[in-house]
Symmetry: C2
Subunit: 323 residues, 2 copies
């Protein structure tokens, strides 16, 4: 359910973003170039670069090298996907075989490291330490969120607050950085930089909440296997709602299987269907509205330019996406 302006921009900007990503891959050390290219150059909505571009243009910045800056958050994102895939032993990513299935674990680990280093280097080349701090902050917070999530894997004893803290780290901070980089690069004032940063953080949290709801949608619709979070013991809102609705007897069986990742494919399919039938995925999506409202409020004081409308449309894009 794309909104026209945002959809047009998404489509329009794919080629120059892709070109910037190709330039980035070309700069990587030869032995990791193929793996990094496989992971970075195919698929993906390029939401992060698009946010950097739009944030910078909101303040009138039209520098041609903006694309090279905008590539950095996407590189960090893909580096974390490469490392996550190693961690999760996921078989598919963005509808294709996961890179570690094609190239092996070790090349993926190193390609991820190289992407992180080149992202830092790329940002440092612009000569503004604020940009580097923004990016390394995001890297740290992303790792913190991932480590927090892993520490809670298989646990059912934490609640929504801790879930929100996890996703703020693992997803929010990099979308925050995507927006913040653009605003800093354009020379926006501190208040505007902070407003856009907060917009990005909240957009990112909403994005992840919707993502976690989509985890229980039909694979035919999303292109991703249904119920991955259930198999991996990640307590997301739909699962929390599901668990709370279970009779006590069933709940302890559920907790046991969840803790040890022991659901059969049939059980995963069954639980996913029950989550959809009872509207728990929809209820989870509704949770995203709080973050989206906060993000929308952040836009209020920003310049009244077309880019602000694009950023507003991005909120609807996140809320309504089906894949």
């Amino acid at each position: 359910m794309l909104i026209p302006g945002f959809a047009r921009l998404l489509a329009q900007e794919q080629p120059p973003i892709q070109a910037a990503l190709e330039r980035a891959v070309a700069r990587l050390p030869a032995p990791v170039r193929e793996v990094a290219g496989y992971a970075l150059l195919t698929g993906g909505k390029r939401l992060r670069p698009l946010l950097t571009l739009t944030a910078a243009r909101l303040f009138g910045c039209e520098r041609a090298d903006l694309y090279d800056l905008a590539a950095a958050p996407e590189m960090i994102h893909v580096a974390s996907l490469l490392h996550d895939d190693v961690l999760d032993a996921a078989d598919t990513r963005r509808g294709r075989r996961a890179a570690h299935q094609v190239f092996g674990v070790i090349p993926c680990l190193l390609a991820g490291d190289a992407l992180l280093a080149e992202a830092s280097h790329r940002v440092a080349r612009f000569g503004d330490p604020e940009l580097v701090l923004c990016v390394s902050d995001a890297m740290l917070r992303t790792v913190a969120g991932e480590a927090h999530e892993i520490a809670r894997q298989g646990s059912l004893s934490h609640g929504l607050d801790e879930y929100l803290s996890i996703i703020e780290g693992k997803t929010g901070w990099l979308l925050r950085a995507s927006c913040r980089l653009g605003a800093l690069f354009a020379g926006a004032g501190p208040r505007d930089v902070d407003a856009l940063s907060s917009y990005g953080l909240n957009l990112g949290m909403a994005f992840q909440i919707v993502d976690d709801a989509l985890d229980f949608a039909d694979e035919a619709e999303t292109g991703k296997p249904t119920g991955g979070d259930l198999r991996e013991g990640k307590l997301t809102p739909p699962l929390l709602f599901h668990m709370n609705a279970l009779p006590d007897a069933e709940r302890s069986r559920f907790a046991e299987a969840f803790a040890h990742g022991r659901f059969s494919p049939a059980e995963v399919a069954d639980i996913s269907r029950r989550i959809r039938d009872r509207g728990f995925d929809r209820a989870a999506r509704d949770m995203a509205d709080a973050s989206l409202d906060k993000a929308a409020a952040c836009l209020e004081g920003l310049p009244d330019r077309p880019e602000r409308d694009i950023l507003r449309q991005a909120l609807s894009f996140v809320r309504d996406r089906r894949a």
Copy 2:
């Protein structure tokens, strides 16, 4: 066989370096702090921080926050050890159980990522983009060297040139960065910065060559299992000399076992002993002299201060070390 001045400095600087590393660990995200602390706060000669300190002092810099800068290369080094251990499945590191044996693979991967991010962040906080470029360059080259080494694992078809290119990446560039950071931080002129960078690169290559020779020394002397490179299919100079000295019939059997990592413990012990008996480890150490001579030449034009003597003594330290 420590040289007095260098030995004294090594001992003297351990506590303030340790304190800086502890401050760094305290800044890491809580979920990775324990793993990162285990890997960062114990063992290690702290050669990299010491080089940063000495390089800066050579130009009269005595800023107290120098220790926080000097911590960065050590953090990158330990991050690469954490990721390497995951790659190599090594059981011990610095004489203790490898971190991934204690904490598992995933926490080590994330702790490595966090150390890399905090190292970037730490350097960026000093506000000089040159420092960040120096560090991210080193990260990229280190990864490139590691990926190159892995691409050649089990191969006997490459020679010393390629070996030197691998170790320049995997070890040389971070020692280069350790020196360069100090010189840049102290405001040294471009020629001096480059001279110290080249000193560090060559010192690092010599360090690795000696390390690879020590791989065939007695475990009782070094505290590391003998012949690790043989088991892992890494073609280092002692192995190259050994292979070239084998009769044709034995050589193909050796190549077969090397390619597939199929040496029995008895074979590893036997080959290591033969390497020592025939002096191939000593011959490999002699190879380090070329790099040490280059490094020494780089010091010639630098200020004639006590720190230059320390840097000269570091060359003897690397040449003569037994563990």
